[in-house]
């Protein structure tokens, strides 16, 4: 095949111009980022939250595993984890708490007759007044209009101020990216009408994704009919993870 000079220039220009654009488009599609949000998804119409029923959690760790798989969470770090509380008595005694591997593989038996035992799943509380967002020096971490606290990893300095500012221990530094990482409430899923990975696999529906702006969401009934609590309410972060049957000993 012979090419004229004109054809060669045309082909070369197309190749140079189109390849990066195609690569960028493909990458955006793969990552399920905000740019690929389905057209029908309107951020202003949602206000995401989660409800957790402590009584229903059996500590199986399926949520931790699903989250790790779905979000490629690095080993030894957790976007969600489950804590086991064992409380012998009240008064001065501290509760005994463990979370081996974040509860990912369940919990070893602990036979303590007479003690109160329960599991508490934890994740980013997607606070409406987030201390982590407040302290970020460049605004790399932000609250999305639909109420999810997200991190722009292409902008994060890795200064770790937000890790210090989070009262709940939900943030960590991604060992490879050297930027902060945390629960995104599976933003790539919920904007497509799916639920989060952790809620999807929970066998007892202890954790349920909630949209506070949707009048038909069962969350409204949940909040109306139960005594609910958020973690560390005195921090006034306006956390949006609502717990039912949360013991006062939980921090």
């Amino acid at each position: 095949m012979s090419l004229t000079r004109r054809e060669l220039i045309e082909k070369a220009t197309k190749f140079i111009l189109l390849t990066p654009a195609a690569a960028a488009a493909l990458e955006a599609l793969d990552s399920g980022s905000i740019d690929t949000m389905p057209d029908k998804y309107k951020q202003a119409e949602h206000w995401w939250a989660m409800t957790i029923d402590v009584e229903k959690c059996i500590g199986c760790g399926a949520c931790v595993q699903a989250c790790a798989k779905e979000n490629q969470v690095p080993d030894g770090h957790y976007r969600t984890w489950v804590e086991r509380y064992v409380i012998d008595g009240y008064g001065d005694e501290q509760p005994e708490v463990d979370s081996p591997d974040g509860g990912m593989h369940g919990f070893p038996d602990k036979n303590r007759p007479g003690a109160k035992t329960f599991f508490v799943p934890k994740l980013c509380n997607h606070c409406a007044t987030s201390p982590c967002v407040q302290v970020c020096p460049v605004g790399a971490t932000f609250e999305s209009p639909d109420g999810v606290v997200l991190v722009d990893e292409s902008y994060c300095l890795g200064c770790r101020y937000c890790v210090q500012a989070c009262p709940y221990g939900c943030r960590y530094i991604h060992p490879e990216k050297q930027t902060v990482d945390k629960c995104t409430l599976c933003y790539h899923r919920i904007t497509k009408g799916l639920t989060t990975a952790c809620c999807e696999v929970c066998p007892t529906q202890a954790r349920v994704l909630a949209d506070l702006k949707n009048p038909n969401d069962p969350v409204h009934e949940f909040l109306r009919n139960n005594a609910v609590q958020v973690l560390k309410p005195h921090m006034a972060t306006h956390s949006k993870v609502y717990y039912r049957n949360l013991d006062g000993a939980v921090r």
Partner: protein
């Protein structure tokens, strides 16, 4: 990660096991404190007309500059993406204490310190630009910034401008280090840090460390040059060191008493930490060796009539202990604030690396670097130039 988990006692949130802020972040408030303290000592002469400390005026300014130039380096080295740090200036997040610190730093460096030093040395620089030869001549010529007018009127203007800049400089120095305190004091999630006392305690401890370092540097330079020490000068500095230290210690004790008396939900956890993991660095190093002992030694020099040599020896010991004590204080704030779980149910351990990016070796190099910079500055702009010309 496994080795870190071995250092855990009780329960930490799983992401808390790893400490986020290392020894480099200990150095940052330590170095910034020396800057603010040295500048405030310099302003004593300029604004408050304490003539006795005049021999240290220029040295204090150069010390402040040497340490200020190094202050951002530990931060920079600690960042996951140092190449993005300039974004703090381009797209600052105005609600972030850390972002605003960048501007306080630049203001202090460019508007206060560099200008004041330049104005103070300008006549000397102009003189040196014509009296030296070779590359030094070119350096001094560049430093004149094209301004070679040393008429009496011009010098009067320099003096006036320098005075005004020092006036602005004092609140700026307060701001610089008070702000560092605010970066920690405003973290409500951390009860070890979160107290409105933090900026004030940081400020006074900064003054203490800055005064101590200039006193030690002055005494060392006098020894190195083999000239006679100006005893009333060091006596005065020691007196200021003593009183500032007393205020600083009182403030820290007020904070401690409040914590003990209030005994809020974090108290048991923090108290246990101070009794165990922080005992050596907090109780022994910071309070006993780094505060009570130098205060006692300085008190001796104030109360008793000691011989000159004995006084100077005590100043050496007290000054060095003071610096160790203030460094320990920074350590206990930064590292101590990360040793306990925000669940108040457990403790982790800080393992200081040796030669990694945030290890002991870079920390030592960063501590020595300001002294190397100061050496160059002193060679280039000897603080005693004015005296020599007069002599």
């Amino acid at each position: 990660m496994q080795s870190l988990i071995h250092g855990v006692q009780g329960f930490m949130y799983p992401n808390e096991v790893e400490l986020q802020w290392s020894v480099l972040i200990v150095l940052y408030p330590f170095i910034t404190g020396l800057v603010a303290g040295a500048f405030i000592l310099a302003s004593l002469e300029r604004v408050f007309k304490v003539q006795a400390v005049k021999p240290t005026y220029r040295l204090a300014l150069l010390t402040a500059l040497a340490f200020l130039l190094v202050a951002p380096l530990p931060l920079q080295l600690h960042l996951g993406h140092p190449e993005r740090s300039f974004e703090m200036y381009l797209t600052p997040h105005t609600s972030s204490a850390m972002a605003m610190f960048g501007f306080v730093y630049l203001w202090y460096l460019l508007v206060v310190l560099l200008l004041e030093i330049w104005l103070d040395y300008r006549a000397d620089i102009v003189r040196l630009a014509s009296s030296t030869r070779g590359w030094r001549r070119w350096v001094y010529r560049a430093l004149t910034l094209g301004s070679s007018n040393v008429s009496e009127r011009a010098l009067r203007i320099d003096e006036r401008a320098g005075y005004i800049i020092t006036l602005i400089g004092i609140p700026s120095a307060f701001l610089l280090h008070g702000y560092v305190g605010f970066i920690f004091g405003s973290v409500k999630a951390n009860p070890w840090w979160s107290t409105p006392m933090m900026p004030i305690v940081f400020l006074f401890s900064a003054m203490v460390s800055g005064i101590a370092v200039v006193m030690l540097l002055y005494m060392a330079l006098v020894k190195l040059r083999g000239v006679r020490i100006d005893v009333p000068c060091v006596d005065t500095i020691a007196k200021y060191l003593f009183y500032t230290f007393l205020i600083d210690f009182s403030l820290e004790m007020v904070d401690l008493l409040h914590r003990i008396y209030e005994a809020d939900e974090s108290f048991k956890t923090l108290d246990f930490m101070v009794q165990t993991r922080l005992y050596a660095s907090q109780v022994v190093l910071q309070i006993l060796l780094g505060t009570c002992l130098p205060l006692a030694l300085l008190a001796v020099t104030q109360i008793f009539r000691l011989r000159e040599g004995a006084r100077i020896a005590l100043y050496w010991i007290a000054g060095s202990l003071t610096l160790i004590g203030i460094f320990a204080m920074r350590w206990n704030v930064v590292i101590g604030g990360q040793l306990f779980s925000k669940s108040f149910l457990g403790y982790t351990t800080y393992k200081l690396d040796f030669i990694t990016r945030e290890g002991l070796v870079p920390a030592i190099l960063l501590t020595l670097l300001p002294f190397a910079i100061l050496w160059v500055l002193v060679k280039l702009l000897p603080p005693w130039l004015a005296d020599e010309v007069k002599a």
